[in-house]
């Protein structure tokens, strides 16, 4: 089953809306952090769909917009903490991109809480769980993404 199908399945049960979050996690830190949360049996909301990317610097704004257009209610990008990037500075270049994107979407009238960015290291399983809880809670407060989603 493709990711979009997985996302869509939840859209269909609209009577009990549950936020769908797509998380782009860098391979070296945040994905490992998510893994650690798993092996440490730290509970976090099931709403998140993880897409592993080599580096937060790999994430193009088009990825996020496409996720939102395809029915995600929120998007999270997480990379290594500054200074820890496997590729030295991928996350720092990404930081500029995300700062601009976040403000651009806000300017365009998209709720800023729908698109979130953070750093989670490989050892921060607990932090990963807390971040997911926050993002899910923020998006739950906003309600379903109706602005950018494409009606098919």
């Amino acid at each position: 089953m493709s990711e979009t199908q997985a996302v869509e399945e939840q859209t269909d049960s609209t009577d009990q809306w549950d936020p769908k979050i797509v998380a782009f996690l860098c391979n070296w830190c945040s994905y490992a952090g998510a893994d650690l949360a798993g092996v440490s049996r730290i509970q976090y909301p099931h709403n998140v769909r993880i897409i592993r990317v080599p580096c937060s610097g790999r994430v193009s704004p088009a990825f996020l917009l496409r996720a939102l257009q395809n029915g995600a209610d929120g998007v999270l990008v997480s990379g290594c903490h500054p200074g820890d990037c496997h590729y030295i500075s991928g996350n720092l270049v990404a930081r500029r991109k995300f700062a601009l994107l976040k403000e651009l979407l806000n300017y365009a009238g998209i709720e800023p809480e729908r698109v979130q960015f953070t750093w989670v290291s490989a050892s921060e399983g607990g932090r990963f769980a807390t971040v997911i809880e926050k993002v899910v809670e923020d998006v739950r407060k906003l309600g379903p993404n109706e602005k950018l989603v494409k009606t098919l």
């Binding site: 199908q5 996302v7 869509e8 269909d12 098919l152």
Partner: protein
């Protein structure tokens, strides 16, 4: 052929009457002061002195997004027609009305009749409005048309001093005039004379370039240097094609999410480098020169060879809106030169 007149002051009554059982689109001004077809009713008097609408009316027959098929969990079905209600377009300029015949040639002729085009065309009645004040980029008289030559329209309206002359041009047009006959008077011979004179005056105002023999000239000059020099300014946007009333090239793409989706036909344009690009990377029309030539060849040669008509009606939108100030009439200055 029925010829009637109606007082200009009664025009809104007529349109209101038509709106009882049809979606009626009438000339309106958008914020930028450009004319557009908008759904009636509008308040106040109808302005009839626009040069032409910013967009051609082709979108009424060839919508920019046309769902061809619907997908649902592996099932494929034809889309339901959203609205069977009759549509009346009032104020279409004669050039644009003629352009419909070009589209008819592509979408209705032959064995591959296009059902989507056909149903929209069928339910639409077009009332053309003759031009009395052509704009500086109008050149219908150069391509076999004229300010009162609205072949393709069901009714031709000609603005007179105080009235409009209404001339039925098709059975649909006859029916329409019959349905509002109580609002109309039989056209007096003077009205017809006045209408003809106004149309002739308008034709006089247009500077003509000759496109006679252009198909033959284009056959002989396929490899001329002219194409290189003339296409240099083209930035390969789709403005000319998208605004053109006869351009009809399209793309078909699928959109799907979770088993639900559609196959959509959208406008496309031969100026785009990707239009003909093969999956192998080979492009049969690799540069602006070939692509720009294709557009001219299609309109002025291939269309003549295949459909015995020019696929250019002289509306001038491509000239008026070209971001690079290009003018396709310049090609024809070379014909016979």
């Amino acid at each position: 052929m029925t010829e009637k007149t109606i007082a200009r002051t009664d025009l809104t009554t007529l349109l209101d009457r038509l709106a009882e059982d049809a979606a009626v689109y009438i000339p309106a001004q958008d914020e930028a002061g450009e004319a557009a077809l908008a759904e009636a009713p509008l308040d106040g008097d109808l302005a009839l002195d626009y040069v032409n609408f910013r967009l051609s009316p082709k979108a009424f027959f060839l919508p920019q997004n046309q769902t061809l098929l619907c997908f649902q969990d592996g099932q494929v079905r034809e889309p339901e027609q959203p609205d069977h209600r009759k549509t009346v377009l009032f104020g279409v300029r004669p050039c644009d009305a003629s352009a419909m015949l070009a589209l008819d040639a592509v979408f209705l002729e032959g064995d591959k009749h296009d059902p989507y085009y056909a149903s929209l065309r069928d339910k639409t009645v077009v009332i053309a409005l003759a031009c009395t004040h052509p704009g500086p980029s109008c050149f219908c008289t150069s391509v076999g048309g004229g300010p009162g030559d609205a072949a393709g329209a069901d009714v031709l309206a000609v603005p007179l001093e105080n009235d409009l002359l209404l001339r039925a041009q098709s059975p649909k047009g006859e029916d329409l005039l019959a349905s509002v006959s109580d609002l109309l008077a039989d056209a007096a011979p003077e009205a017809v004379t006045q209408a003809d004179r106004r149309i002739a005056d308008a034709a006089e105002q247009m500077e003509a370039v000759t496109t006679d023999g252009s198909a033959q000239w284009l056959r002989e000059n396929y490899d001329a240097d002219l194409w290189q020099t003339i296409s240099q300014a083209c930035i390969e946007c789709g403005t000319c094609s998208y605004l053109c009333p006869t351009c009809h090239c399209f793309d078909i793409t699928d959109e799907i999410r979770g088993g639900r989706g559609r196959r959509v036909r959208t406008w496309d344009c031969c100026a785009y480098p990707l239009f003909t690009l093969h999956a192998s990377g080979h492009n049969p029309r690799p540069s602006s020169r070939e692509r720009w030539r294709q557009r001219i060849m299609h309109k002025f040669r291939y269309a003549v060879e295949n459909h015995d008509r020019l696929f250019c009606v002289g509306c001038g939108r491509c000239i008026r809106h070209c971001p690079a100030g290009m003018d396709l009439r310049n090609v024809f200055k070379h014909v016979g030169a």
